[in-house]
Symmetry: D3
Subunit: 161 residues, 6 copies
């Protein structure tokens, strides 16, 4: 039986930290679906389509990844797909409690699906999409933290404004 | 290719929280080796043999688990066995930093092996072996927190003293 | 002299975690006033009236509780009522610093009034009103986490939309 | 019915932070018993008798306090005495998890007894007995942090050595 | 060579905690520039001009301080000015991770500039501008926490509304 | 007036993380004294003499560093030397509270001396002497984390045993 995992997030945009987590998930599971929530209350910088495209461009080296969108409860989507795990990156203490809250709630709703936490490289411990957007907006060079296609879109986005 | 994980610990004694983590690991990986370090500096309550026996008794319902001892570097053992992951339970913020320190060190030594963090049920969030030993020593009923064979050994141990 | 405590919050809506804390406060104090701030900057899901009604319906088994609204400084309200304590639930590390900040500020303003922290059951450690609203919005079953009358109102609210 | 609370600790020695917590507990409860565990594994600086005497000397202004020793399970002692609460000071994030672990364990054993957390003044946020002993050993002036009789005993103790 | 440091912040308004940190920075560095970001996304209570004026009024006793505004990347401003350090106050665990994230990002962009963390007095551990604004809005006396000219402006602001 | 700082620690042994912090301190202060406490209760792996020698060997590229031992109160030593600051590395949340406790105590004893916290590179965030000793004991390669002379002594030490 094929072992499927879901890697949910906002990915606004995908960073090298996300890719590091995803590469590790791809070794553990037979297939990983990266999912974007389309009705999130957050106002994203990039459209769902642009974010999906950036994820696809950044993961061409991974053969067992696909990308999808969800507009309902994540854990129900995971259950419908027959997933055995939800994958989350865990970088810092401040991630910890929100992640545990969600993981425990998901466990109560679907006890058979585990949340699996993976740790990105220490190079990415202090990295997140918010800080990338802020640095790019102020004109800093973020090429060390995002894949090339994301870098280009960030530059396009902020040179226009 | 069979996917092997190592679940290292002191297990002095194994608790229901450990078993909860192990059951989840057994769904993700093809085989899980529970390992005990034999040259740890900690002074355990139970001998290595007794701890191994309690783990075996508590995991007879799991068909893809084995138990082993290690007396060197955990990550080297994992590498020699061809493991793809090290499994750790993560219950509280205070676990977090030590676990990350070890996970990053292990990652530097063997970049191909991931540390996978799993979360026990909220019933076991505040449970650990130290508190179990202390409660058993003072005569409290810990049957809710440990498997039956561990309960019996704790009672034997502390009634003797 | 009767010992009065204030249990302030947003209660949008009241959860089983809040009720657990309130039941414990009712054993310690002679009377507990649950208070809602009416000029908070947060945009609530339920009106003040609906929230008061849900609190009353969920606390009919407690004889020494009343509900009130405040539109000024909490600590001044507590002082005017002759309260000796402010009661707060403390579930997680992330609650800790904000709660201490408020408790120390209140202590500086009214040194005679103590803030008393109570801990809900581990079943409710990872529960809060925000996550309840989000889960209800997405159609998840939250009957395990809120009293029946709150469940009904959540269902009414989100089926309408 | 008189409302009794237990305030357990090592009190090696009692500090102004402990007294601050105790004064607040004495306003909430009808009587507070300060308890010392006599079979703790820690090697104390002061004997149980000296610690009891220092507590008594430092609490003569409080009419509803007594001092006792326990040599078994704290929660069972509390239950036998008919206490409704256990009082603990909570100063810092690092206190938090151990305290919650104990509070949840105690709650499982005796669900009717609550753990009540009180916060000392910000002057005492970073104060504990370990640091007091260390500073006194090195000859620092700790008169701001301990009651006079404790100060005298610390000086006697370390001048002798 | 003169040693210059930058002390960036929102200072909405400056508090006694900020001044405490600034006084300490002024002993370590030859000159300290307090900087306000003018294009921040936060909606401030006071205008940039009012905030600059309050900082100047509160620092007349310090001879090596100046005030400036920046509308780009902080670390680039620091580099252009020839600063050797960025100064930040660190009060609580919750400050820690955001501060480290920023410090590490800044270090990657300009490895020669260090972030220096200073700790305000314990009197100001639980103090921040948000809580000051909230207390002032509700009519509490905040004279213990802000310099006199800030107190006057807070009173003017909230009596008008 | 020359600005002197003290950088205290156990340095058992000095790591690349310590050296990173020291290099940064040397740019801020005119002179930095690295100090070892000689009467610490910890049982060190290396003698005071060996630790001093390793510090000297690892800091030959820094012209404003000296090494000393202290056998009393650190803050008094700093005061006697005319230091204006104590330097500490801050890597993780778990360092935070102990460091703040010490910094506040030192501030109460000598208000004129500041504690300055510096952050090592993210490469060293999860590094400390304890983990280095443990890895070296188990035969892992720690050349990435310690200077060459320390590496040699660790190898000598553990090959002998």
């Amino acid at each position: 039986m094929s072992k499927l995992a879901i890697y949910p997030g906002t990915f606004d945009p995908i960073t090298n930290g996300h890719i590091d987590v995803l590469e590790r998930a791809c070794k553990i599971f037979d297939h990983v679906v990266v999912t974007l929530a389309i009705n999130s209350s957050k106002q994203p910088l990039f459209t769902v389509e642009a974010r999906k495209e950036m994820i696809r461009e950044a993961t061409t080296h991974l053969t067992n990844v696909s990308v999808d969108t969800i507009d309902g409860l994540l854990i129900r989507y995971a259950s419908d797909k027959g997933a055995i795990s939800i994958v989350r990156g865990l970088r810092q203490v401040s991630d910890f409690e929100y992640e545990f809250q969600m993981a425990l709630m998901n466990r109560k709703i679907e006890p058979e699906i585990s949340t699996v936490f993976l740790m990105p490289s220490d190079k990415y411990t202090f990295l997140n999409s918010t800080i990338i957007r802020e640095l790019a907006r102020l004109g800093a060079n973020v090429s060390e933290f995002v894949p090339p296609s994301v870098l280009k879109r960030l530059q396009d986005n902020f040179s226009r404004s």
